[in-house]
């Protein structure tokens, strides 16, 4: 007869539940269900729950003898903390499930570089990282980026904002086709003198914006074409 002994201890708002399965005389499939009012925090290896642990508790085949299981939960202790829901003899199972991809990661370790190794800001560069060796003609116009994606440098942003404000004022002046609207637009622009100045600087503004766009475009293409051969340089260094 299989018995389940439970003990709990509570530290720092976390309840640790220790379970002992006793007197198994053959390989058995057991289902242990958490009864505490909170999620099961299963034991983990390499960030992944150990085989058999689910959101509800533990389910798996255990071999003959005594077995210890344990989990944590933010819920308060209660009695009993867990119950044995199901006990089924599983004579054919040897208790060693076949290796899945998750098992391999759990056993051997996640090969991903640690977060600290990734340069700051690089997390958003999924698309950009590829642009370094992508076709420049393809990467420039074919991928319109949202503003959040390709953030403009801090030194450029104030100037662009000033230009945006002037363009918006010019647009609202151009769109005003009734007398009240025109009056409001002129007042918004800061008076007739300001409107005259704005009109005079229209061509210059446009030239300057186009010049910046042209230089940025050229630089972007050159940057895209120049792939830094890190591996080669590291090898000769």
């Amino acid at each position: 007869m299989v018995t389940l002994d439970c003990t709990t201890s509570h530290h720092d708002e976390v309840t640790l539940v220790t379970l002992r399965l006793r007197d198994l005389d053959a390989p058995t499939r057991v289902t242990v269900r958490n009864c505490l009012d909170g999620p099961v925090w299963p034991p983990r290896r390499e960030g992944l729950p150990v085989t058999g642990w689910t959101e509800a508790g533990f389910e798996g085949v255990v071999g003959p003898g005594d077995h210890a299981l344990g989990y944590a939960t933010p819920a308060s202790p209660a009695d009993p903390p867990a119950v044995l829901d199901d006990v089924t003899p599983a004579p054919d199972a040897d208790g060693t499930p076949s290796e899945s991809a998750t098992d391999v990661v759990r056993d051997l370790g996640d090969p991903s570089p640690p977060a600290d190794a990734v340069p700051a800001g690089a997390a958003t560069t999924d698309a950009e990282s590829r642009d370094t060796d992508a076709d420049p003609s393809e990467s420039a116009p074919a991928t319109p980026r949202s503003r959040a994606d390709g953030r403009t440098p801090a030194v450029v942003e104030p100037w662009l904002e000033a230009m945006t404000a002037r363009v918006e004022v010019a647009e609202s002046l151009a769109d005003a086709d009734t007398l009240p609207a025109a009056t409001a637009a002129v007042r918004e622009a800061g008076g007739l003198a300001e409107v005259r100045a704005l009109a005079a600087s229209g061509a210059a503004d446009e030239r300057r914006l186009r010049e910046v766009a042209r230089r940025a475009e050229t630089l972007a293409n050159r940057r895209a074409a120049a792939t830094v051969p890190v591996e080669t340089l590291a090898r000769i260094a």
């Binding site: 390499e46 290796e99 899945s100 991809a101 998750t102 391999v104 990661v105 056993d107 051997l108 370790g109 996640d110 090969p111 991903s112 570089p113 977060a115 190794a117 990734v118 340069p119 690089a122 997390a123 560069t125 999924d126 990282s129 590829r130 060796d133 992508a134 076709d135 393809e138 890190v230 591996e231």
Partner: protein, 221 residues
């Protein structure tokens, strides 16, 4: 058939062997080194995109080079965004389309080495004659055995003119193919082409033909 080219130690020539073996077999070579890719890349989605769910593995195949390749991205951010567990499905998908799927495994003994071995039908372990390389290769051999990837051949790379293969074969329990130190091979690899294209009559090419024939034999068992 999925063939994992693995070796434990870095710099023993796994990528060179994987690339040239795929060329001989006319198969596809997958750059499985998620953090330090070294097969030729080019434009378009790569294995990082596949493992992050942004592309299918077929979209990452580059059929236009001298060898059909699935390259891997070269950024740490890309490596971190990728879920290595998706590698087994990606390889299985390729296996349904290509007769030969050759995986260039990274150095070490972490999951990126183990995952290809779980789906691989056979493994080729690459080592140089140095003691350190052989020790690491033996560890990978153990892992391949645990993950049911049969050891097809041990490649003893960068050997001198008269290498002692017998002791190596005894330790690994598998036949040995030797690849001599070869300028022709090094030059070909540096330019991203297989040695069969640049020096078809070289001894290194002969070694890859021998290895490809051995892999054929393993597949028919």
């Amino acid at each position: 058939m999925i063939l994992a080219v693995t070796g434990g130690k870095g710099g023993v020539g796994k990528s060179t062997v994987a690339y040239n073996l795929a060329a001989e077999l006319d198969g596809v070579v997958v750059d499985g080194d998620l953090a330090m890719a070294d097969l030729p890349a080019g434009h378009g989605p790569d294995l990082h995109d596949v493992l992050a769910g942004r592309a299918t593995v077929h979209e990452a195949v580059r059929p236009d080079g001298p060898v059909t390749t699935v390259p891997c991205g070269r950024t740490l951010a890309g490596a971190r965004a990728a879920d290595p567990r998706a590698l087994t499905d990606a390889l299985a998908t390729l296996d349904r389309t290509y007769r030969w799927v050759v995986v260039d495994s990274p150095a070490g003994l972490r999951a990126d080495v183990g995952l290809p071995l779980t789906v691989a039908d056979a493994a080729v372990v690459v080592t140089t004659p140095s003691t350190a390389a052989i020790a690491d290769a033996l560890r990978v051999r153990e892992l391949a055995r645990e993950l049911d990837a049969g050891l097809c051949r041990v490649v003893l790379n960068r050997t001198g003119s008269d290498p002692a293969t017998r002791p190596v074969a005894d330790r690994f329990g598998a036949p040995v193919v030797t690849i001599p130190d070869s300028d022709a091979l090094a030059t070909a690899q540096r330019h991203g082409v297989p040695v069969r294209q640049t020096a078809p009559d070289s001894r290194a090419r002969g070694a890859f033909e021998e290895l490809a024939a051995a892999v054929y034999d393993c597949s028919s068992v």
